[in-house]
C-alpha cells in the first residue's frame, strides 16, 4: 500500500475520534448529538470500502485499548462488549458495504449525491442491525424490545446526519479533486495500477 494512502487512513481515524468529541446538546433529550456517525459516514464516502474498513478497524482498536476516542470521550473494552457495543461493530460491515456501493466510478463529481445518500442510509441500517443484535444478546431483550429501545428513537436524527454526511462528502470530494489531493493519494495505490 502506498505510504500516502496509509497516512491518509490514519488521519481519517484521528478525524473520526475528534468529530466524536464534538457534541451538540439537545434541549429535549439526555443523549447529545455527536459527530461520530458523521465521521464514519465520511470514511465510507471518501476512503472507499477497503480503506474505510481499515480506518474504522484502527478506530475501534484505539477505543478498545482504552483511549477516549468514542463519543463523549468514552473508551475501553466495555464499550465494544457492553450492551451498546453492536453500534460500534456495525461500523465495519457498514463502511465496507457503503464504500463499495460508492466506488466504481472515480470521475470528479461521481458518484452522485443520490448514490452517496443511499449508500449512507444502507450504512446506517448495518449499524442498527448489529446494534440491536448485541443489545438483545447482552441484556436478554427480545428482538422487538431491542428495536423499540435501541433503534426507533434514533432514526430521525441519524437519518438527518446521514443526509448531512452525504452533502458534506460530495462537497469535500469535489474540493479534493479540484485541488488534486485525491489523485495524488491514488497514485501508486494498487487500485490506480489496476485501472
Amino acid at each position: 500500500m502506498a505510504v500516502r494512502r496509509l497516512t491518509l487512513i490514519a488521519f481519517f481515524t484521528a478525524l473520526i475520534a475528534i468529530l466524536a468529541q464534538l457534541a451538540v446538546p439537545l434541549p429535549f433529550s439526555p443523549v447529545p448529538v455527536t459527530g461520530q456517525l458523521l465521521g464514519v459516514f465520511l470514511a465510507g464516502t471518501l476512503l472507499g470500502g477497503r480503506d474505510g474498513c481499515l480506518a474504522i478497524l484502527a478506530y475501534l482498536l484505539l477505543g478498545a485499548a482504552g483511549a477516549p476516542v468514542f463519543s463523549l470521550g468514552r473508551g475501553g473494552l466495555m464499550m465494544l462488549f457492553g450492551p451498546t457495543g453492536g453500534y460500534l461493530w456495525g461500523f465495519l460491515p457498514g463502511v465496507y458495504l457503503s464504500g463499495r456501493l460508492q466506488e466504481g466510478n472515480q470521475r470528479p463529481g461521481a458518484p452522485g449525491l443520490l448514490t452517496t445518500a443511499g449508500a449512507t442510509l444502507f450504512f446506517l441500517g448495518c449499524i442498527y442491525l448489529c446494534g440491536a443484535i448485541q443489545l438483545s444478546l447482552v441484556t436478554g431483550y427480545s428482538a422487538s424490545e431491542a428495536i423499540l429501545a435501541g433503534v426507533l428513537p434514533f432514526i430521525p436524527l441519524d437519518a438527518a446526519k446521514a443526509f448531512i454526511a452525504a452533502v458534506l462528502g460530495a462537497r469535500v470530494k469535489k474540493i479534493m479533486h479540484a485541488g488534486g489531493l485525491l489523485q495524488s493519494c491514488a497514485v501508486n495505490s494498487p487500485e490506480a495500477v489496476r485501472d
Binding site: 496509509l6 497516512t7 484502527a58 482498536l61 483511549a67 444478546l137 438527518a160 458534506l168 474540493i175
Partner: protein
C-alpha cells in the same frame, strides 16, 4: 481531547499481572460468552464466585475493583425498575396507572443488572492489571490470523500509532478553524438546529482539506526517512504463550461450557 486520562492501569506483580495479555483478552471474551449464556441463579453464582477468585488473584484492593459499580449504581437501579415495572405480563403482582409489577419483569430486571455488573467488573479487572500498550499488542496478536483473509494487521497497527500521534494535533487545528470561522460569522452556538447543521460546512470542509494535506506531508517525511512499508517491524519484546496462559484459557472455556451445558 488534550487531557487523555492516564488510564486505570495499576502496576503490580500479581498472577493476573504476569499472565500473558493475550490470554487475559481471550479469557475475557470467553467470559462474555458465559455471561450471555447464563440464565439460572446457579449460573450467576458460579460467575460471581469466579470474579471473586479473579479479584483475589489480581491483588487489587476490593474497594478499587468494585469502584465502577459504585459509580453506576443509579443507572442499575433505573434499568432494574424499568424492567420490573414496564414488562407486560399476563398476571402482574401489582398494577397502578401505567405501571405493572410482574414476576417475569423482576426476573428480567435482575438478569440485565447482574449481567452488566459482571461484565463491567471483569473488564475493569483486565484494564487494571494490563497496561494500554500491552492491550494494544494483545489485540495485534489476536488479529494476526486475519492476515489470511487479506486484512493487513501490521498496517492497521501502524495506522493506530499514527492516529494516536495526530489526534491532539488535529484537535487543536479543529479548535483553531472553529475560532477563525466564528470570526467570519459562522454560528456555532445558534439554538436553531438548521443553523447548527449549516455551520458544520465551514468547519468540516477545511478540517478535512487540511488533514488530507497533512497526510501528504507526513507520507513524504516517512518516505524521505526510508519507510518502505515492507518487512517486519518490531515493537517491544515478543511474548509467547506459556503453560499458565494455556491453563487460564482452558479454565475459562470449562466455565463457559459448564454454563451452557449444565446450568
Amino acid at each position: 481531547m488534550s487531557r487523555i486520562p492516564a488510564g486505570m492501569y495499576i502496576p503490580g506483580k500479581s498472577f493476573l499481572h504476569r499472565l500473558d495479555p493475550l490470554a487475559k483478552l481471550i479469557g475475557l471474551i470467553i467470559l462474555l460468552a458465559a455471561v450471555i449464556a447464563a440464565s439460572s441463579p446457579g449460573g450467576y453464582l458460579l460467575l460471581i464466585l469466579f470474579i471473586g477468585v479473579l479479584l483475589a488473584l489480581s491483588g487489587l484492593p476490593f474497594k478499587l475493583a468494585i469502584a465502577p459499580l459504585r459509580r453506576t449504581y443509579l443507572f442499575f437501579a433505573v434499568i432494574f425498575l424499568m424492567n420490573a415495572l414496564f414488562f407486560a405480563d399476563v398476571d402482574p403482582l401489582w398494577t397502578w396507572w401505567i405501571f405493572s409489577l410482574s414476576r417475569t419483569g423482576l426476573i428480567q430486571g435482575a438478569n440485565v443488572v447482574l449481567r452488566l455488573a459482571i461484565i463491567i467488573v471483569a473488564g475493569h479487572i483486565l484494564i487494571s492489571t494490563t497496561s494500554p500498550m500491552e492491550i494494544t499488542a494483545a489485540f495485534r496478536r489476536l488479529l494476526k490470523p486475519l492476515q489470511y483473509i487479506n486484512i493487513p494487521v501490521d498496517i492497521v497497527a501502524l495506522i493506530v500509532s499514527v492516529a494516536i500521534h495526530f489526534i491532539p494535533v488535529l484537535a487543536e487545528e479543529v479548535e483553531m478553524i472553529r475560532k477563525a470561522q466564528t470570526v467570519r460569522g459562522a454560528r456555532f452556538d445558534s439554538t436553531r438546529l438548521r443553523d447548527r447543521a449549516a455551520s458544520l460546512l465551514p468547519l468540516v470542509i477545511p478540517v478535512f482539506v487540511n488533514a488530507f494535506k497533512r497526510a501528504d506531508e507526513l507520507a513524504l517525511a516517512m518516505e524521505a526517512r526510508g519507510y518502505r512499508g515492507e518487512g517486519r517491524r518490531v515493537s517491544g519484546p515478543e511474548i509467547a504463550f506459556q503453560a499458565r496462559d494455556f491453563g487460564a484459557v482452558l479454565i475459562m472455556a470449562a466455565i463457559c461450557a459448564v454454563q451452557i451445558l449444565v446450568l
